[in-house]
């Protein structure tokens, strides 16, 4: 399989899906020249009736996506940075995620929102949010967070072809990360987690960008004789609860890693599932390694201090091993 950068996988998938179905329309601010590179070249290929720069007006763009979908189109709306999802939040929270129910199922809403999320590059508080917990709580919207180039491709294609609103959160600044990406048609089903590393002592569920530090933590832990299984949920809605519980049944211990603020985070929710359905398997407290309940600071030293790191993850995992195991 060829190795490709994450952003390139997204770009190729957009080409593929727009080629495949001429009902797919992509709009957003600056999508023609593509500030993140993900939409690059689409304008030259498909022209203004398929991809178009919009004015800056997120509140209207999210509502327009609903109207375009109602008129029979498959909409991809690029929202640039995830914080701008808040600017366009009204039609997401009050229309897009509710209209299927409110109309008794009449409305088809094949809409894919794309937004870059996350910190780590000194973009400060208004360009770094990880809004997936907020979106998960809305109900009525799939939440996809691919961590690898292959999943970036497979989940995007599935979302674009699907019948429901999805938000596809693209790891900002992951443009440079490479991985193997299957050629041709490649669909990753929604709601299927992936085991990124097998292990037996502790399960680390790592969301999106957190996969990388989680894998690094697992490596460190292995050196200490602790075998960590790293699970990448890939999708948060629908969530593969069974895969998480199966891993927990094997290891008996759980650490959930989330770049979002901790309170009411995906980490909280996964921990809650473990405390309910996985209770019988739990040998130790369920740990969350998440962002503290504060906005992102600008200064890189401060940003780094609040970010879930391999060290924090490894420490959380080691902390819930039995003493015997730790000193063995």
């Amino acid at each position: 399989m060829p190795r490709k950068r994450y952003i390139q996988a997204i770009n190729e998938t957009l080409f593929q899906e727009m080629e495949r179905d001429d009902k797919v329309i992509l709009i957003g601010e600056d999508v023609e020249l593509a500030i993140f590179g993900d939409t690059r070249g689409l304008y030259e290929r498909f022209g203004p009736s398929r991809i178009r720069n919009t004015p800056i007006c997120e509140a209207t763009l999210t509502g327009m996506a609903v109207g375009m979908a109602a008129a029979g189109y498959r909409v991809i709306l690029h929202m640039m940075f995830s914080n701008f999802v808040y600017t366009g939040f009204d039609a997401i929270a009050n229309q897009m995620t509710k209209l299927r129910l409110m109309t008794g199922g009449q409305m088809e809403l094949p809409i894919t929102l794309i937004a870059g999320y996350g910190g780590g590059r000194a973009t400060a508080a208004q360009h770094s949010d990880s809004p997936h917990p907020v979106l998960m709580n809305l109900g009525g919207m799939n939440v996809l967070m691919p961590a690898t180039p292959a999943d970036a491709k497979g989940l995007l294609a599935t979302a674009v072809r699907g019948r429901n609103p999805s938000i596809y959160l693209e790891a900002s600044g992951r443009g440079g990360d490479s991985g193997e990406v299957p050629d041709g048609e490649y669909l990753v089903p929604l709601g299927k987690a992936a085991i990124a590393r097998e292990g037996t002592d502790v399960t680390i569920v790592a969301i999106g960008t957190m996969l990388k530090p989680a894998l690094a933590a697992a490596k460190k832990l292995a050196e200490e004789g602790i075998s960590a299984e790293v699970l990448d949920p890939r999708c948060l809605v629908p969530l593969d609860e069974e895969a998480i519980l199966a891993s927990l049944a094997k290891t008996g211990r759980l650490v959930v890693v989330d770049e979002a603020r901790d309170r009411c985070s995906a980490a909280s929710h996964i921990a809650a599932i473990a405390a309910d359905r996985g209770f019988a398997d739990l040998k130790a407290p369920v740990k969350r390694v998440a962002f503290e309940n504060v906005p992102m600071a600008y200064a890189p030293n401060v940003e780094a201090a609040y970010f879930p790191s391999a060290e924090r993850i490894a420490a959380a995992a080691a902390g819930i091993m039995t003493k015997a195991k730790v000193i063995s």
Binding site: G63, M68, A70, A71, Y73, R100, G104, G162
Partner: protein, 336 residues
């Protein structure tokens, strides 16, 4: 002088249809108000009484495949665009045969198959949706247009400007149809509004006209030009129908107001005269300007009463809404 000789009978038929549609909205709303007051409806209703000429004048000129978006005060738009009365009542009764299977209720009546993209509980919520539908219509190239009904209160939501801007920049076939009844809930709109609303549309250089919204024929005349403009690909239009809301913002308003008031009984009465009420005044015109007689109107009145009564019976006879539905329809092909 008997004007019968001058009258084109097709126009008579059309005018009578306008009258019937306005009357249907009026009588349906009256029934809903009575039911709401009696406490037989689950939620509350926002009545369209007094504004019928706006919805009917506009929708009488639309194709079935044109889109509309509506407001919290949406029954009139739904009916005028051809929505089924029985299914609307069953919806408001919260029953299985409701147009939205009882999931939406009064504030969310929608019939996507007829281009009715829904009443909306979010003030201004329809602006972007209709703009998006108009973009879809433009891409499709079959001459469809979208009409966005919204109130003077909604015109203070920023999405109004945003939607006008993108519709202008992209030359979208959308008509922004502002129903200016001078009121936003319990607030007199002029107290919270700067300038004249129509000037906000003029700022985009778009087709913009104001019309007496209680004169169904005048509404038709202006809207016909707007539709031609939009359908021909000349971009968006703004039409403002000036009108008045006769009932409270919502039924049970008095309960909410707790003795306070934002308008006088005299003001309301002044809009209910034979000169201003859209139905009374059109009735007079039908008698004076067409070959139709009082007995024609009485027949319409009876037919409408029958339809309303039948709709109530339909709603009452309909079974309870399906408890499983939220699990089944929140997503297509997927569990929530």
């Amino acid at each position: 002088m008997n004007q019968l000789a001058n009258i084109d009978t097709e126009r008579d038929r059309n005018w009578l249809a306008l009258y019937e549609n306005m009357l249907l909205i009026r009588r349906a709303e009256e029934r809903l108000c009575a039911e709401a007051q009696a406490g037989t409806l689950p939620g509350t209703v926002h009545s369209y009484i007094g504004q019928e000429a706006s919805a009917v004048g506009v929708c009488s000129l639309l194709r079935e495949d044109d889109y509309i978006t509506s407001t919290h005060r949406g029954h009139g738009h739904y009916l005028a665009k051809g929505g089924d009365l029985d299914a609307m009542f069953a919806e408001i009764w919260g029953r299985a045969d409701g147009i939205c299977k009882g999931m939406g209720g009064s504030m969310h009546v929608a019939d996507v198959s007829r281009g009715i993209l829904g009443a909306n509980g979010i003030v201004g919520g329809g602006l972007a949706i209709s703009t998006g539908a108009a973009f879809g219509a433009q891409l499709e190239g079959k001459g469809k247009i979208a009409v966005c009904f919204f109130g003077d209160g909604a015109a203070n939501q920023g999405v109004f400007m945003e939607s006008m801007n993108i519709a202008t920049a992209w030359s979208l076939p959308v008509i922004f149809l502002c129903e200016n009844n001078g009121l936003s809930e319990f607030t007199v709109s002029s107290q919270v509004t700067g300038g004249d609303l129509i000037d906000r549309a003029r700022a985009f250089g778009m087709f913009a006209e104001q019309v007496d919204g209680n004169d169904v024929i005048a509404v038709q005349e202006v809207v016909a030009r707007a539709i031609d403009h939009a359908r021909a690909g000349n971009g968006p239009c703004y039409v403002e129908t000036t009108t008045y809301r006769i009932r409270g913002h919502l039924e049970a308003e008095d309960l909410f107001l707790g003795g306070g008031r934002y308008r006088t009984p005299e003001e309301i009465a002044a809009w209910q005269t034979a000169e201003r009420d859209p139905i009374l005044r059109f009735a007079r015109r039908l008698i004076e300007e067409t070959g139709l007689s009082e007995s024609d109107l009485t027949a319409v009145e009876e037919a409408v009463a029958g339809r309303v009564e039948a709709a109530v019976q339909f709603a009452n006879a309909s079974g309870p809404a399906d408890v499983e539905l939220p699990r089944r329809v929140t997503f297509a092909d997927q569990q929530p």
